[in-house]
Each structure stands twice: as structure tokens, then as C-alpha cells.
């Protein structure tokens, strides 16, 4: 695994700004398209990062995303200093959600976010503690298995 990143980007994720939510993911998507990355990998990256970004907007009172592209992988680190998660195992469960009603009215908050990030990542780590924010690490390899 090479340790030198080719591209490094940092994005602000503003709190409660639903018209801008997804902008960071959209930028990364554009970047990967320009780099000629396999569309299936771009889609997995987009979904994972967009879900993580939405979580920061909905639950985390805003935060940041750091994206590093290596020769063989994409590493995404999304973090906030929001209220944190009390029970990560429970939060990972499909259908479990603490999102308020207005988020559900926007079509989100169905409790699929974290499991969907995991499903689309090759490596997924989440760290959180009540009062200490949440950190999500996503790794996606640029070469699909079997290639």
C-alpha cells in the first residue's frame, strides 16, 4: 500500500444547510470522474461519502471532510464535534434512527445511513463518544477485486 497521497482535499460541511449538503461529495465525484476512476467505484464512493456528509449536517452540527486519493485507494475522513453517538452498535442497525421528523420529511433519517456507508466501503471505522463528536473513516480501493 503506497503511503504518499496524490491528491488531498478538505471540505467544510456546514450545519443544517440542506441546500448545500452533498456539495463536498459532489466535488469528490467530479474529481474522481476527471481522474478516470471506474464508474462503479465512483458510485460507491459517492454514496458512502454523501451519507457521511448528510450525517454531519443532520446530527453533527457541521464538520469537515478530508479526502486523500492514493494510487490504490481513496481515504475519506469525515468528522464533527456534535453530540456523538451513545450506542454505535445500535446506530449501525438498519432502521434505527434518531433523526427528527423534518429530516424524515426530506426523505432521509430512515436509519440506513451508517449501514449503507459500511456496505459501500472496503474498510469502515467509526469512532464516537457522547459529547466528543463522531469520526468516520472510509477506505475504498481503486482496483475492483478480480481485476
Amino acid at each position: 500500500m503506497s503511503s504518499l497521497s496524490l491528491i488531498k482535499k478538505e471540505y467544510d460541511i456546514p450545519a443544517n444547510d440542506f441546500s448545500r449538503a452533498g456539495e463536498a461529495s459532489s466535488n469528490v465525484r467530479k474529481l474522481l470522474t476527471q481522474l478516470g476512476v471506474n464508474p462503479a467505484i465512483i458510485k460507491r464512493t459517492s454514496i458512502a461519502m454523501y451519507e457521511a456528509e448528510l450525517n454531519v449536517v443532520i446530527h453533527g452540527n457541521g464538520g469537515k471532510a478530508r479526502v486523500e486519493i492514493f494510487e490504490d485507494r481513496i481515504e475519506i475522513f469525515v468528522y464533527d464535534e456534535g453530540p456523538g453517538i451513545e450506542d454505535i452498535e445500535l446506530a449501525m442497525k438498519e432502521g434505527y434512527s434518531t433523526a427528527p421528523d423534518f429530516i424524515r420529511e426530506m426523505g432521509f433519517g430512515a436509519g440506513m445511513g451508517l449501514s449503507n456507508i459500511k456496505k459501500n466501503s472496503d474498510r469502515f471505522v467509526i469512532e464516537s463518544e457522547p459529547g466528543k463528536g463522531t469520526r468516520v473513516y472510509i477506505t475504498i480501493y481503486l482496483i475492483e477485486e478480480g481485476q
Partner: protein, 118 residues
């Protein structure tokens, strides 16, 4: 099926990307819950929804969906149209209900791919 044919079948109004009427759509997904679109709909190029907010366009973008149809007479806002135009996503609207719009398109040959979001 071409977007122009889809527009005719559901008596749709086109809001963006009028130059993309010749996109060929083979499968679609109908949902008001964007969480489900992202979790279950992997291969569909068209979304039918009754939900109207900018995150619908973002979701379509992330999912590589080229066409979004708003059902039940809902119309996209100007902000949504601008975002869709920028992303090259065709926005259509129809007075038909979700069930009827999906039924007409399914009968005409458009399929649903992926598990729960068919």
C-alpha cells in the same frame, strides 16, 4: 425507452436539459424515501418521486440517475432546476400518481432493478 417517449406516456412537463430527450432509459425506481434509493437502487437511471427538495437532485447525482420524474403534480423549485441543469439531470413532472405513472411505464417496458426499490 427515450425520455421523449416517457414524457409522452405520462403526459409530462420538462423542466431541465431539453437537449437530452434522447437518453435511453431501461430501468427505474419509484420512492419518496431517498435513504431507500441510496440503499437499494443500484442500477436504475430514472427516479420517480413525490418528494420535492434539493436533496432529491443530489441523490440522483450520487446514484448516476439521469432523469427524475416528480409525480402527483409536484413541480421542482428554481433552485432544484438550476442544480439539475448544472449536473445534467433531466427533470420531468406529471399530474399522475406514483402508482399510475410507474404502472404506465412498467407496462411500456421499463423495468425495476435492485431489490426493494422496484
Amino acid at each position: 425507452m427515450l425520455v421523449s417517449q416517457i414524457k409522452e406516456l405520462i403526459d409530462g412537463e420538462i423542466h431541465t436539459c431539453t437537449d437530452k430527450m434522447d437518453i435511453d432509459i431501461k430501468s427505474a425506481c419509484g420512492a419518496d424515501l431517498m435513504s431507500d434509493v441510496m440503499a437499494f437502487s443500484k442500477e436504475n437511471a430514472m427516479l420517480l418521486t413525490g418528494l420535492v427538495n434539493p436533496q432529491v437532485i443530489r441523490t440522483a447525482e450520487m446514484m448516476d440517475m439521469q432523469v427524475v420524474v416528480f409525480v402527483r403534480g409536484k413541480k421542482p423549485t428554481r433552485e432544484m432546476c438550476e442544480l439539475a441543469e448544472e449536473k445534467g439531470i433531466v427533470l420531468l413532472s406529471t399530474e399522475l400518481s406514483m402508482f399510475t405513472a410507474c404502472g404506465i411505464l412498467y407496462k411500456a417496458g421499463i423495468l425495476g432493478k435492485g431489490s426493494d426499490c422496484e
